[in-house]
């Protein structure tokens, strides 16, 4: 319509136009986020304050329940144990995944024959459908006929076999082990990426200064990897706290509720007992937990950048 004015002379119309275009570019992503993440979360929050049953799906009628769902969930006699199980499961899995992931990442940083092949093999657990790997683990851990106990018996480490899935404390260990196995590839991949960013000449310099492998890990690798470590750990917590499929497939929350976490409880309430209001309340606790860690993550991230 009119010719583009020189920028320095009259910046404001251009900037306004810019602002519109900027919004235009943001709009698809923003719409997507609002539609597919914002709406379900908002809906879940609303649902947790409603008495939402099977009938509500058909009639659209869900009476307001106030805080009753939260009260019921929090005061349930099983809740303290569920919370503790969730904490143990999450901490155990995250630490296990991280330690193994870091070990593998450090190992594969060295160049050796078939290193590439082995590294891609390590990603396999990630590619398998969880139900398939979970079922296989369930078979392997079967106390009577599973291969794990067969090996342990063969090595004379145990005579009666470990009740991997039938002992209340062993079952929790089992799901932690399986979930660790599932998460190692992710940790390895991210940490390996982080290691690639550390300039190799630092190590050479350290070597010249007489630093051994331990010292160069402590003074070079670890400090430079720190930002990546905090990302991996926080993401690990957020991913693990909501794990459902591994537990459902391997132990189904049993025996005697020993592997029941907030996530499996929420599933149980919603899809087995059809109490969607309480299920939503339970899953909102998970969202709050994840948010806490997300904030921690952002903080850690900012500090890492400013330092």
């Amino acid at each position: 319509m009119r010719s583009r004015p020189p920028q320095a002379a009259d910046p404001s119309p251009v900037r306004r136009g810019d602002r519109w275009t900027r919004w235009l570019f943001v709009a698809p992503a923003a719409t997507y986020l609002l539609l597919f993440f914002g709406y379900p979360i908002a809906d879940n929050v609303v649902m947790s304050f409603q008495q939402y049953t099977v009938t509500s799906f058909y009639t659209g009628d869900a009476p307001f329940a106030g805080l009753r769902n939260y009260a019921a969930v929090l005061s349930s006699s099983a809740f303290p144990r569920t919370l503790l199980t969730t904490a143990v499961f999450t901490a155990g899995s995250v630490l296990g995944q991280f330690a193994l992931g870091l070990a593998f990442a450090l190992f594969f940083r060295r160049r050796f024959p078939l290193g590439g092949v082995l590294r891609s093999l390590l990603l396999l657990p990630w590619l398998l459908p969880l139900v398939a790997s979970g079922t296989t683990w369930k078979w392997m851990l079967d106390p009577d006929t599973g291969v794990v106990n067969a090996v342990l018996r063969g090595l004379h480490l145990t005579s009666s076999g470990v009740p991997w899935l039938t002992g209340t404390s062993q079952a929790l260990l089992s799901v932690v082990l399986v979930n660790t196995w599932v998460g190692v590839p992710f940790n390895t991949a991210i940490l390996y990426g982080g290691l690639q960013d550390i300039p190799p000449n630092l190590y050479e310099a350290a070597k010249l200064d007489g630093a051994g492998p331990l010292a160069s890990f402590r003074h070079i690798t670890w400090p430079l990897l720190r930002p990546v470590v905090s990302v991996v750990l926080v993401l690990g917590v957020v991913y693990t706290v909501k794990v459902l499929d591994v537990i459902l497939v391997v132990t189904g929350g049993g025996p005697a509720g020993a592997t029941e976490t907030i996530a499996t409880q929420s599933y149980e309430l919603s899809f087995r007992q059809f109490d969607f209001g309480r299920g939503a309340a339970m899953s909102n606790l998970l969202i709050v937990l994840s948010l806490v860690f997300a904030v921690l993550h952002l903080r850690a991230d900012r500090r890492a950048r400013t330092v």
Partner: protein, 417 residues
Amino acid sequence: MTSPARSSARRIAALLTGLLLLAPAATGCGDRTGSGPSGGEVTAITALDYYTDQAEHAQWGDLLTACGRTVGVRVEQTSVPGASLVPKVLQQASSRTLPDLLMLDNPDLQQIARTGALAPLDGYGIDADGFAPGIASAGSYQGKLYGLAPNVSTVALIYNKDMLAEAGVAVPRTWDELKAAAATLTRPGRYGMAVDANATFEGTWQFLPFLWSNGGDERQLDTPQAAQALQLWVDLVNSGSMSKSVLNWTQADVHDQFVAGRTAMMINGPWRIPALEQDADLHWGVAPVPVPRLGQSPVTPLGGEVWTVPQNPSKARQQKAAQVLACLNSPSNMLTLAQEHHTVPSRTAVAAQHVEANPSMAAFAQSVAVARARTSELGVEWPKAATGIYTAIQSALTGEQTPEEALSHAQQTATGR
């Protein structure tokens, strides 16, 4: 408040479908979302079930097609996996896109009927006369019939004839005989008995014959009768006659253990018969679930899928669906289905006929005649009690709690505390 949004979404969906599928589908679509009863002649109806197993899907597909032909409609069958049927039905209920003919597992019927999404069958002259009383009650909600199952099943004791003969053990009829037999049959690498004591409704379902036959009741779980039943399972595990792994086994796992010769007896259903028959070297027999004392008859839970007619704006479609449902439940089709799936026809007279031709079904048919629907007493409250029961089983079998403690806790779960 949500209905305008819903109907516009439906209109958009219809438009898109029409565009994609072009003329023929668009007219089909028109009849469905169109102006209801005056939608013209019905040429096709939709059906939803969970028969995803290829053979089963085909067998039901054939029957639906045949029944459709007799009433002059094409039946479009869709099958989804068992676990996703109810979630799918809930989605469809909220978007008013339920199929014309819907299959449900019988304990789910009351939940869905309560929503008002299903049409009562009495309006179509369909009743449950001549059906096993358990299945009639499973298909009813607040005194009205909403669903009918052409064939039903229950559980019984399946045993390995060779192992029993070799150990010189008679087929156990009572709990004491069961304990003794299981102990005698147990040896290295083999357990005498197996059940599914899984932390799911399947575990509850397997325990019900023991609970009910002893006079236990799901309305009041903290009774001596219930504790005795649970004690029986605890004894079997503690004596080593039953693997502790039952805590983690599904019914399919129990079956695999039996076929592999790692257990001599198991509780399972007739739907396992085709697989059992595949192994010519396996000689098995079926007996009723053992009862507390001689002379009692076992009270077992009723399994089977009921067919229902969801509410539909087009009464003409609903009419056709009801006619197909009636056809599925006709005596001759029941017999065909029972033959194909090794189940029991749900009409008592037809069941007798079926047993004459298939003696191995006698134990199942006998149990079905007096079998109880899981929802007959608690109705929509059943899932809570069922959760309480399997939790109690798990606590008792792991030794976390005594049967009495576990069941009093279960009673708290069931009453929602």
